[in-house]
């Protein structure tokens, strides 16, 4: 029977098929662990006297809490320090590989997995973090889980799950210069809404997706959860194989050949039926930014802040009124007139080397607007080292930006990198919820290119706003 990509990966992992409404028991190939959602899971194992079933399918990093300054000193915040120490103790006690702060392989869990070549097509990948959907860019079925499920996977290497529905998101055409993968996904979320993907695995397909690099594909799959979807997937192709080959944990020799042969079968059959379909044209896309307090409240940069009275749905109108008030905006004002205090470049959405390169290309030789601060936080220690080897750190520092160590940082403000109440950011991260980046903080989600242009001009801007010189770089198109 014809199947979708998601169904094929699902079927290959069924340990036990559920009957009479009971869920299927699914095998988990790779379990990623970090300090925030794991302590209570390890505690549960300890209380029940259970070991970790497969430490060799488990890997941990420190990312959510870690400071991005003075990383060679004890962590100043005592609760953060305790949480990180708890992970270190658990890793030793249960025999789990951990990349700690200061280790060259430390970083945001969703940047580290692909970087080490652990994320591969056809795997099931879970982590106690909703942005686990990132790994779907390789054609893996990857999704976030809660702490009870973390404990369940540690104990059994399986999860009981009911099948997801499938939604095809086809993006035709070509991205214009100045637009990126981030603009595609923000436009998708604005189209289907923050609840539009609930219960679904999204499969991104079409010409515009095929021409994206692996890193750009990760940006797209990363934000699937922002549309409510459990996972996002992209069928593997030559781009995927090329990215993987030679990475530390990529298969070698005959294993590589066998893997690639199997991976080539991982695509939705031509006659596969999706439960829902959405079509977008990349040719129509402009740089997209959010104006409100959920990721679905986004518009093209050339638009104006919505006027609530013109919104017909009462629920949406109320939500817009509340968001506009929280964000301190005036209905009808051009989005381009919004001045920001902070530009944050980083996160599991846009903290990889290509993101940093694209920002550096725009800002090289320029200086940031006086009124704002710019934070550049690489997604992993390796990304930081790579950027330094390429001299990008120099470009950021000359621009007036702060060049930090790797971690989740201001994306969620669990470490000292936070917005002050009322402070406004243009952020390459993934959530603009109230208080997400610090209590009272106001977040506009943007692409790395919009972040760069905004840092130069001080107000939400696209690369095109910088004049003809800046927009001419052809490689910006797929950053």
């Amino acid at each position: 029977m014809a199947g979708t990509l998601a169904e094929k990966v699902w079927d290959a992992h069924i340990v036990r098929r559920g009957a009479d409404g009971a869920p299927d028991l699914l095998y988990i190939d790779l379990h990623l662990v970090h300090e925030v959602t794991s302590p209570q899971a390890f505690e549960g194992l300890r209380l029940a006297g259970r070991p970790v079933r497969r430490p060799d399918l488990t890997i941990a990093t420190e990312d959510h809490n870690t400071p991005t300054l003075d990383i060679d000193r004890p962590i100043a915040d005592t609760t953060s320090r305790t949480q990180i120490q708890t992970l270190r103790n658990n890793a030793v006690e249960f025999g789990i590989r951990l990349h700690s702060l200061g280790d060259a392989d430390q970083g945001i869990v969703h940047v580290v997995g692909p970087q080490l070549g652990l994320t591969m097509p056809g795997l099931t990948v879970v982590c106690g973090d909703s942005h686990t959907s990132t790994h779907g860019a390789f054609g893996a079925l990857a999704f976030g889980i809660g702490t009870s499920e973390v404990e369940h996977v540690l104990a059994t290497q399986t999860l009981p799950l009911n099948p997801f529905k499938t939604m095809a998101i086809t993006v035709d055409g070509d991205l214009k210069p100045g637009t990126t993968a981030k603009d595609i996904i923000l436009a998708v979320i604005a189209r289907i809404g923050t609840g539009g993907g609930q219960g679904y695995v999204l499969e991104y397909r079409g010409e515009a997706i095929r021409s994206l690099s692996m890193e750009a594909r990760m940006t797209i799959c990363n934000m699937s959860i922002e549309a409510g979807a459990r996972a996002g997937m992209i069928a593997p192709d030559e781009t995927t194989f090329e990215y993987l080959k030679g990475r530390p944990h990529a298969p070698e020799g005959a294993d590589w050949d066998a893997a690639v042969e199997y991976w080539r079968t991982l695509r939705s059959d031509d006659d596969a039926v999706f439960d829902a379909e959405v079509v977008l044209d990349a040719d129509d896309l402009e740089p997209f930014v959010t104006w409100g307090t959920n990721p679905g409240q986004g518009l093209p940069l050339s638009a104006t802040v919505p006027v609530p009275e013109q919104i017909t749905d009462p629920g949406d109108r109320l939500a817009a009124e509340r968001a506009i008030e929280y964000m301190g905006l005036t209905p009808g004002m051009p989005l381009r007139d919004i001045a920001v205090d902070t530009v944050f470049i980083g996160s599991c959405t846009n903290g990889r080397i290509e993101d940093l390169r694209s920002v550096a290309q725009v800002i090289e030789g320029k200086h940031k607007a006086e009124s704002l601060r710019v934070l550049v936080v690489p997604g992993s220690a390796r990304v930081r080292l790579q950027a330094e080897a390429e001299g990008l750190d120099r470009i950021f520092k000359d621009f007036g930006a702060e060049w930090r160590n790797a971690g989740c940082s201001m994306c969620l403000g669990m470490n000292p990198d936070q917005l002050a109440p009322g402070e406004r950011s243009a952020s390459t991260s993934n959530r603009n919820f109230e208080g997400r980046q610090g209590k009272g903080g106001r977040t506009h989600l943007v692409s790395p290119l919009v972040a760069a242009a905004t840092a130069i001009r001080g107000t939400l801007s696209s690369v095109a706003d910088l004049g003809p010189d800046a927009a001419r770089e052809p490689e910006l198109a797929h950053a």
Partner: protein, 225 residues
């Protein structure tokens, strides 16, 4: 897990849509390593507002939350469920839940039941007109009752059975361990192992600040950073 068949408690009308997990519990409260003690963190940003529903005496002891659509969106943090439970909530009713939140609730014995939007509106009207009114959530009859309003609630059969029996998932799964062992024997050799660890090539790292010289250390050596 405690068995859940029926619960009666004060209903709390939360007339907001898209209540994300950052609103239910902000990230700064996620640093604790325990599973309890999160009651003070629930809706932390809103608790400072005297007009917020839980700050009104009639609702403060509430245990049935009646919320707008898309409740629990955003992060996978199970702390959101713990915070609701620690505050005293036993059930959340909404017309739509985020998937991960609903899953987490089921694992922790918090009932997350779907109620049609027009029925949520009916419940809100009763609870707002007569603050302190109790709601009875009956998992056996699949209904929520609030004064003269009786509305159907939806919970998937498997979660309902587990809640009513108070069953622990891990115990259920370990009952099938032989099948897990069989599956593992069939896994292909190309699938990755995290151990033994393989790394990217080593890199020369320059110290960010001058390394202090320790008196008495042999020439040419320096303390490990």
């Amino acid at each position: 897990m405690e068995k859940f068949t029926q619960h009666t408690g004060v209903g709390v009308p939360l007339r907001r849509s898209n209540v994300d997990t950052d609103q239910i519990i902000p990230a700064v409260y996620l640093k604790r390593v325990t599973r309890t003690g999160f009651e003070d963190a629930l809706f932390a940003a809103w608790r400072g507002d005297p007009a917020f529903v839980l700050n009104q005496p009639a609702y403060a002891a509430g245990s049935v939350l009646v919320a707008g659509p898309d409740f629990g969106t955003g992060s996978s943090r199970e702390h959101a469920v713990w915070a609701l439970k620690d505050y005293g909530f036993k059930a959340v009713l909404s017309s739509r839940f985020a998937d991960i939140f609903r899953g987490n609730s089921g694992k922790q014995g918090l009932l997350a039941a779907v109620v049609a939007p027009e029925d949520i509106e009916l419940l809100w009207k009763v609870l707002e007109t007569r603050p302190g009114t109790e709601v009875t959530v009956d998992l056996v009859a699949r209904t929520a009752t609030c004064d003269d309003v009786v509305v159907p609630i939806q919970v998937d059969d498997y979660t309902r059975w587990r809640l009513m029996e108070g069953l622990d998932d891990i115990g259920l799964t370990l009952g099938h361990e032989d099948e897990i062992v069989d599956f593992e024997a069939r896994r292909e050799p190309w699938r990755p192992l995290t151990l033994p660890a393989k790394h990217l090539p080593p890199v020369e790292i320059e110290a960010a600040r001058p390394v202090p010289v320790t008196i008495g250390s042999p020439a040419g050596t320096s303390p490990r950073p």
